[in-house]
Symmetry: C2
Subunit: 580 residues, 2 copies
């Protein structure tokens, strides 16, 4: 940390968010105190600030979060930082085309996470020679020694096999580190890994290289340990005693990158181009909208996990290849890279794959919320309507997952017009946005001029406030089943209201409240919205309740009881119950 912050990195200590500055990611977030100490050495924090560590009133939290000006991405769930750093380095090299470099400190314990190996493969594939990984091989995990302990040779072979230039150094030796960073700057077309053999708690009396000290304060031993450390400092440093505070200053960056503010400024070049009744899959509308946004803003980018011909993100790849990052089948890294790309609003990323496969990166998405990311996610092939591929490919848990993410916005557009507007809104909405798209073609039900907003649903069918007997809330494929059910019911003189909520989070509470008051009432989100409004209600849920089977979409909607006929029968049953 001392070599990085005082000699190697180029930045302005009083302006951590400067876009030209070198970036630093502490993937092993539990080493936060070392990060805070570094920013104290360079003058941004005071020694008094350091003493507020882990207090409620202080942003010097247990693990770093972007509540601090010098933290771009939150870390603490291990093995994610290198993907974030790779995203920043990708943007630096290919989009900003700037000279800043990205440094990432990774722990040896977290190097067991597959996400790290996905990131290593990504970084070498894209020749990120502006990225340096510093691997802290201190031999000890939380509860026991790491699998490879101090086998530096194996670490080196693995990194080299993954396409990196890999150097082994004594991580406590300043000169070896300086030389390694200098070599890293000279290596072209490959990222560099500096593999540091270190001792955990080095020089700490009775603690160095010992187990059972992970994350523990020194307690009653602190006085003795500090006295011993100070004595060692005197011996080793030929007159230089104690801190370097104020004596070494980092070099300033090359000023070749300008600040950006993208969110709030991105519009589709023209209204969606569909005709009422035209059959269009929402996944195709997503691809169209992404390509159209990409046309008007060269910072709108797409990330894909080798499903671009199914999600239709390929439309952006084909029209704006420089704004498209193929991440191959490695969703954790894809999400981490997306979050890294979104840092400091350098880009507005749309990360897409099958909705089911976004579950692969739930931890990364969750950490994205802690990172205050503006990264957008699009999950296609929702629900059983994807058909014969079977349950492994069907997104059934995606809404629950994204609803649970703090501060998220969850779009579930039902037609192509609504989908294009969802993409436009997501690009301009702070926090994590998720858009759920579907595989089958459905008719366009909204005019190109229809206005959409987050948290505003649409009444797509109503016979009038006095005659609607019940409200059906449905999205996507089930909205069309609900509309068919409404026809069947109308033929029996039963009028129902059908609501398309557009966003599942937030739910349009006012529209639902009105519907409940005027009539009587999608699962968890609907109930929560009603309860927040203090409205007593019952909700009859219709959803997949078992592991689905392969079959045609029509067969599956029928088998699992969410087709028009099932809705028709349910409504009649509910009305009978109410009347009795």
């Amino acid at each position: 940390m001392a070599v990085l912050f005082l000699k190697e990195m180029k930045y302005k200590p009083n302006d951590p968010r400067n876009p030209s500055s070198d970036r630093f990611v502490l993937s092993k977030g539990h080493a936060a105190p070392a990060l805070y100490a570094a920013w104290t050495e360079v003058g941004l924090l005071s020694v008094d600030d350091l003493l507020t560590l882990r207090k409620l009133s202080s942003d010097l939290e247990g693990h770093p979060t972007p509540r601090l000006s010098f933290v771009d991405v939150a870390t603490g769930s291990l093995g994610q930082g290198l993907s974030n750093a790779a995203g920043m380095a990708y943007v630096g090299k290919y989009i900003d085309k700037a000279s800043y470099r990205v440094y990432c400190v990774v722990g040896d314990g977290e190097a067991a996470e597959g996400n790290i190996w996905e990131a290593l493969a990504f970084a070498s594939y894209y020749k990120l020679d502006n990225l340096v990984m510093i691997l802290d091989v201190n031999r000890l995990g939380q509860s026991q020694a790491t699998p490879l302990q101090h086998d530096m040779d194996v670490y080196q072979k693995r990194c080299e096999a993954f396409g990196w230039h890999a150097l082994v150094v004594d991580g406590h030796n300043v000169n070896e580190l300086l030389s390694a960073f200098s070599t890293a700057r000279s290596i072209k077309e490959r990222p560099t890994a500096i593999l540091c053999k270190t001792v955990k708690g080095a020089d700490f009396l009775g603690i160095a290289d010992e187990e059972n000290w992970h994350g523990k304060p020194l307690g009653s031993r602190s006085a003795e340990v500090i006295r011993d450390l100070e004595a060692k400092l005197k011996v080793g440093a030929s007159g230089d005693i104690g801190s370097t505070l104020g004596r070494l200053k980092p070099s300033p960056p090359v000023d070749d990158c300008t600040p950006m503010k993208l969110i709030g400024s991105i519009s589709l070049p023209s209204p969606p181009q569909y005709k009422l009744g035209e059959l269009v899959a929402t996944r195709l509308a997503f691809g169209n909208a992404l390509a159209r946004l990409g046309q008007v803003c060269d910072r709108v980018i797409g990330l894909d996990g080798d499903t671009k011909n199914s999600t239709f993100s390929i439309k952006l790849r084909d029209s704006r290849p420089a704004q498209f990052i193929e991440c191959f089948i490695a969703e954790q890294n894809m999400v981490g890279v997306g979050i890294g790309c979104a840092v400091r609003q350098r880009t507005v990323p749309f990360v897409s794959t099958f909705g089911a496969f976004l579950t692969r990166a739930f931890d990364q998405i969750r950490m994205g919320a802690v990172s205050q990311t503006n990264c957008n996610f699009v999950g296609s092939h929702a629900g059983v309507s994807i058909g014969e591929d079977g349950p492994s490919q069907m997104a059934l848990e995606d809404l629950a997952m994204f609803r649970a993410v703090t501060g998220s916005t969850v779009f579930y557009p039902s037609d192509a017009v609504a989908t294009e507007r969802a993409v436009e809104l997501a690009a301009n909405t702070q926090g994590i946005c998720f858009i759920r798209t579907g595989r089958p073609n459905h008719p366009v039900i909204y005019q190109p001029t229809e206005l959409f907003a987050v948290g505003r649903g649409k009444v797509v069918r109503s016979s009038g406030t006095d005659t609607d007997q019940l409200t059906i809330v449905a999205s996507g494929v089930t909205l069309f089943e609900a509309l068919r059910a409404a026809e069947l019911l109308a033929a029996e003189n039963i009028q129902v209201r059908v609501i398309d909520p557009f966003t599942i989070k937030p739910m349009d509470g006012a529209l639902l409240k009105q519907a409940v008051q005027e009539t009587c009432g999608i699962g968890d989100a609907v109930e929560q919205a009603l309860s927040q409004a203090g409205i007593a209600h019952t909700v009859h849920r219709m959803a997949i309740r078992e592991v689905p089977h392969s079959g045609t979409p029509t067969e599956l909607l029928h088998k699992y009881g969410i087709d028009a006929n099932a809705i028709f029968l349910s409504v009649k049953r509910v009305l009978t119950t109410i009347k009795s």
Copy 2:
């Protein structure tokens, strides 16, 4: 597939579940038709069966699931099968101590998944020489070429660096494959990777090695392609035309492994040993219960992600080291190995780490449901009550995640007695079970003799059916806050009922119904239970609604409005609203 199923593997074609048989995992599940064809060649399926592929009435689904007798684990979400196979191989070598071997076919596209590298590291660390990975390097992904294409040398270096014996062969050459499998059998203390250079759609006219054929039927070209294939067969096989149907027979297994039926048979050796009022963390009670179950059943095993000294699974490691698998910081592999260990009820696994980090493996857990697994998951350090470590370590999404998993059972025990019973119940419950545990100590509130059941809550405080004005449903740390709030309210002559639901899924609908009817009501699960019972209701939710900060547990419960005082004020506000 032909070499594996007709020459290499030892099994009985008419008894696929025989425990002594070699096991096969098709990690690239989209190649399911090849698997179904193999079982047709050996006589378990008929050619007519094959023609039901992907139909609703057929179990020959788009991707393999254990609805088929010869499938142990569902595949189709990529990069997971090798972990499952490693779990089976671990059990084979160390627990069954039997001679069966485990074969896993992995695609090159899915080799980009970090999960694969976690599994490779795990298998070599544990010297699983009964495990063979067959890597199908066919160069093409779904939407474009793979990153490494046919660079066999890099694949070999990577596998070797991860500790495997790695051989490169022509994947279409029967003799090379036979020789490689023979070598694999001779390699000791290391797993073997057979890296097969193949051509996608080999020998298919106009399709071989071409893009845009992934997952597509031949359509109008089928007649021509089949004619060409048949012509090629005649040329190459010196008189052997077409199928080997019935002519080659696999060798039978060495009969050294007996069937097991564990679920339903596992009991704690004695009631939980806690005194009322004793302060015990539920995570500690989990550790105690796991060790106690492990004592009476040597097939109860624990899997850890280097958090065992925090989750207290270390209690099993210390008392029964042979029943404990340290998986290091690689949660995706840990879950996949757990699912592999649970196959055919060879073991009853408990996979534990911080609840927050189980989100890392949501896709694997979701696939566990499709796999009909009986693997159990335990997530500790739930909610803000973990304190100063900050939001990255706090499980806030775990309940939403596990509730969304098909067929899951979700336990949220509030004291040590309930926790021990939850562990015992989970061991005996089919499907995925999740137990949420907490970090802080709380008083024991149940007698050692208290009976617990899935879906049965407890009324922990009530003044009587006529006097309770409102019901509070709470679990874990918030149950104790609710009990304190109830005291504060009683001092103002407001009586409330307090319910501990014990399981969040299923929720005790009858108990809630009674409470709503007698009084007036944790979030989504409560509302769903009430709506399923057709009871009109309002639910006032109290939960974390923003990314929490570091701080002491008490400070955080206060700051985010879920402590006793906040509950006290909420109850008064709700009662005022009802009365007005």
